[in-house]
Every structure is written in C-alpha cells, then in structure tokens.
C-alpha cells in the first residue's frame, strides 16, 4: 500500500525572512522625524509637559537600532521586523499628523483634542488609577462573559438538540434576545442591590443571546450522516451530543463567542459609565466631568489595548480548538 503517495501536500506559506534596509531603517528615521517635528511644534510648550513624549521617541530610536544590530542572529526576529516595521512606521507618522493638527496648527478645539504629548503625560501621571480601573473592568468583564457563555451554551445546546425545547424556547429567544442589554439598565439598577452584580448580569445577557443563537443553529445543522455513522458505531445520546453535535457546531459556537465578546465590551463600558463606580467606562465619564480630555484619550488608548488583547486571546483559543479546520476556514 503506497499510502504516502496519496497524501495531499498542504502548502505552508511562510513570510520571507528577508529584511530590506529601507524597511529596517524606516522606524528609526520616522521616530527621529517625529521627534524633530515635535521639538519644532512644541517650542512654546513647557519642556516638562512634553518630556516623556520626547523620551518615547528616543527610546524607539534606541530600541530599533539595537534590534537592527541583533537581526543577524535570529531569522525569527528578521521576519517579525519585516512584518511589523511598516505598521510601526505608519503608527509613528500618524502620531506626527496628530501632533501637527493639534499642537502645530491648532485645527481642533481645545480642551477636547489635546496633542499626543499631553495624552501620554496623562497616561503616565494617572497610571495607578488607570491600572486599577482596568483591573475592575477585567473582573467585571470576565465574570459577566463567563456567566453569559455558560448560560448561552446550555440553552443553545438544548434548543438545538431537542424539538420541544426549540418550540418553547425559540419564541423567548426571539422576543427577549434582540433587546440591547443596555436597555435593561434602568430596570437592573432598581432590581439589584449591587450595581456590580446587575452589570455582570447585563453583560451576561448581552453575551447569552448570540452564543445561544449560534450554538443552537450549529447543533441543529449537524450533518445527519455524522449522527447516522455514530449511531451505527454504537453511540448513545451522550456521545451523539457531546462528541458529534457539539464538535460539529464548534465553528458556529466560536462565531457566537466573538459576537458575544463585542456585545460584552459595549455593555461593560455603558454599565460602568452609568451605574458602577469603577472601571474604564467610569474613568472616561469621570475624566470628562473634570474636562480632562487628556485622561479621556488615555483611557481610550488603554481600552483599545485591553479589548484587542482579549479579542486576540479568543482568536488564539479558537485556532487551538479548531486546529482540525486549518485550511478550511478563513476569518
């Protein structure tokens, strides 16, 4: 049996590890340009105000030169630099543009649109409170999301598998599900003694709907022939549900998990700015109340990093769990 001959080769496309000089030098040159530009536009500012911003670019120049020297020793590093440097360069140039528009020509009204240097200063000065807020947001998000995912998986599996549950459950899902979780806030604040608990429940509700919907559709669309095969192999109901229908539904379930994650971010921020007295959403509205827009932008930057990290984590989990789908899906 020449089984090897039958094996379909799967092409793996690796980015080339060639790092061109112009790519390598783009980051330090852009950083030097940004620094020079900033020194020019901020010449009337107090030097202490923009100290950390200048330091930032000096660090970028330093680190990028060190990496350029180290590149010989690691093809992985070269590949990473070849891949990431254009993006970093674009980010630095975006900062330049922001600097010019705000500090340089003062095109945007103050105090709503501070320059990048002022935002960086707020970020550094207020780091302890920001860290604390991030921690509170994380705790609330994780508890609400976990609760919603567990509830959504259970109801989704029941609705997808059992016809009677589908008959009675679908109308509830269709009527209650589409109401945005944030619309329940006034009610939730009255019912629950604790704003934290009611916010967690609201986040869970926001997550529950898409997870239930997608899980139910994934389970009920399990290929009948997989179930038939499993039955002729001697499978009982537990095997059919947990080892056939659920794995078959996993790609759908992950779509639900991603949709739920997006909904949970929204609900988290709204709930924090309305009811809960902690977290990044609260920080933003608090800073806005004091007209400290540098802090508002700082919190937005933290949020962007925070949310995209969590999103990336979920992508990593998906890649791990759905490794069997490699080459089948792209999203």
């Amino acid at each position: 049996m020449q089984a090897q001959e039958d094996l379909v080769p799967v092409a793996v496309l690796e980015p080339p590890s060639v790092l061109r000089w112009r790519t390598m030098l783009a980051v330090p040159i852009a950083a030097a340009f940004a620094l020079g530009l900033h020194l020019f536009v901020a010449k009337n500012e107090a030097p202490l105000e923009t100290h950390s911003y200048r330091l930032l670019f000096l660090e970028v120049i330093g680190v990028s030169i060190v990496l350029a020297l180290l590149r010989r020793f690691s093809p992985g590093l070269r590949r990473w630099m070849a891949n990431m440097w254009p993006i970093f360069t674009a980010a630095i140039l975006t900062l330049c543009l922001w600097d010019v528009v705000t500090l340089g020509f003062r095109l945007l009204p103050l105090p709503y649109f501070p320059g990048p240097a002022a935002v960086l200063r707020s970020l550094i000065n207020d780091r302890l409170l920001l860290l604390d807020s991030t921690w509170h947001s994380l705790a609330l998000l994780v508890s609400g999301y976990t609760l919603g995912v567990i509830a959504g998986l259970i109801s989704g599996i029941c609705i997808g598998w059992s016809n009677p549950v589908r008959y009675w459950g679908m109308p509830i899902l269709k009527v209650v599900g589409p109401i945005p979780a944030t619309a329940w806030i006034p009610l939730a604040l009255v019912i629950s003694p604790s704003a934290i608990v009611s916010s967690a429940v609201l986040i869970a509700l926001a997550v529950w709907f898409p997870v239930t919907m997608l899980t139910a559709s994934g389970i009920s669309n399990t290929r009948a022939s997989y179930l038939d095969v499993a039955r002729t192999l001697g499978a009982g109901r537990a095997y059919l549900i947990f080892r056939v229908a659920i794995p078959a539904a996993l790609p759908n379930i992950f779509i639900g998990l991603f949709m739920g994650l997006g909904a949970s971010f929204l609900t988290l921020v709204v709930a924090e700015s309305v009811g809960v007295k902690s977290g990044l959403g609260w920080y933003v509205s608090w800073a806005q109340g004091w007209a400290e827009y540098g802090k508002v932008f700082a919190a937005l930057i933290i949020m962007a990093a925070f949310f995209s990290t969590i999103m990336t984590l979920l992508f990593k989990v998906r890649d791990r769990v759905l490794v069997w789908q490699k080459g089948v899906i792209k999203w």
């Binding site: 089984a3 094996l7 379909v8 022939s225 997989y226 039955r231 002729t232 078959a248 069997w324 789908q325």
Partner: protein, 261 residues
Amino acid sequence: MVALAEGEASSLAVREVKKTFAAPDDPLARRQVLDGISFSIAAGELVSLVGPSGCGKSTLLRLIAGLDAADSGDLLIGSDPITGPNAQRGLVFQDPNLFPWLTVRRNIQAGLVARGVLREKKHEVDEFMRLVGLDAFANVYPHHLSGGMAQRAALARALINHPKILLLDEPLGALDAFTRMRMQDEVLRIWQARRTTMLLVTHDIDEAIYMSDRIMIMTPRPGRIERTIPVDLARPRQRDSADFLRLRSDILNYLHFAGGA
C-alpha cells in the same frame, strides 16, 4: 436466544419488507419505495445489490442498519429482529463521513469510545490501522487525506466494532478508477481475512462481478429484487476473462430489458 459472540459473522434475512415515503411534491401522497423485498445472506457471504439510481438501494441499507424503520415485513440478523442502529451492523457511505474534528486514530477508535470499551480494546486500534495501511497517519486530521485514504479510514472505523455484517453503500463510488480497483482488492482482502458478512450496494456491474458471491438486481418504482445471479468464478478473479465478460453482458442485457425504456 443466545447472542452471537462478538466478531462472529452473521446471516441476514429480509422478508416482505415494504417502505413508503411522503412524496416531495404532494405531502398527502405516499410513494412506495420498497415493495415486498425478500432475500437472505448467509454468514460470511459477500453479496452485491445493483440497480439504477433511485431504486431504493440506499433506503434498504438504512433499514438494515436500523436507521429507519420498515412499514411492514421482518429484518433479522441471525434470529434477532433489527430494532434500531447498533454496533453489530457497520455502515460505510460513499462519503467517508470521517469526523473532521478527530485525527485518523481517534476516528477509527470512535466505535470503541462510543461503546465505552476503549480501555480494554485499545490494542486493536493499531491492528486496524495496519489492516488498512494507515498506521503512519494516526495523528493526521481527515482534511489532509486523499479520497482513498479517507475511505480506508472509514472502513477501519466500521470494522473496529467487529460487526456481524458490514453494509457498504457505494463506498468506492467517489474514487477514481485506479484507486477504486485498488480499494476493491483491499475490501476483498479484509473480507477474506475477517470473513465478515458484507452487503455491497453499487451501480458498477464490474465491481459487483469482481467482488461478490451473488448479485441481486433491483428495479425501481416500486423497488423490487428482480433477480439474483450467482457469480461462480474462482478468486482472485480476472476482469478480462471470458466468463467475467459473459456474465457482464448478461447482466447488462438484463438491466436494459428490465429498465424497459
């Protein structure tokens, strides 16, 4: 009644089986798919069922597998009536239907897991992977396999429960001509090694003659078994021998006649 020991091949008896389905165009009308099917297969026999598409071959196989219930008539394995699907009757479809989320090894041992006997029978998994020549691909996911390899894995998965009868629903229908001929020898080798009773549904006359002890010819609307032809050729068979070709033209003539047109 004493249940047969595991691994022992078993006879199959089908008596006056009828089956209707709701007509797709008119929900009130019933369409007769099987009209009084009767036949029996001895333990260890390899019998083919040929006929034009839509004659109810797959429906009949699903009844024997226990996936659907007949409207009337009896289906017996040995002397036990068939009441539902179980591990005694293995089924292999044209599409291998490997679970894409399991590696080849985990697909093949699925039957042991489903019956909760993986711990005792783990050693057999390697044996069956060797039987179908997939031992080097134990940890590969199905989307990496070619059609022939996937179908071999599906065969091993069906065989691991030592079914008393193996039902093959055009298992080689989707393969190219070369792979197909190789796989026919493969199935015959497994059959000779294990002496499992096999019922092979196919629309390929050559395949039926090459492989089976008997050929049952089925005609459509309503599905009936019109004729059973014994294949008394010595094994291994030559696809171009005079007897082979004569039998082939007999069956083709008969089908043309039976098809009516």
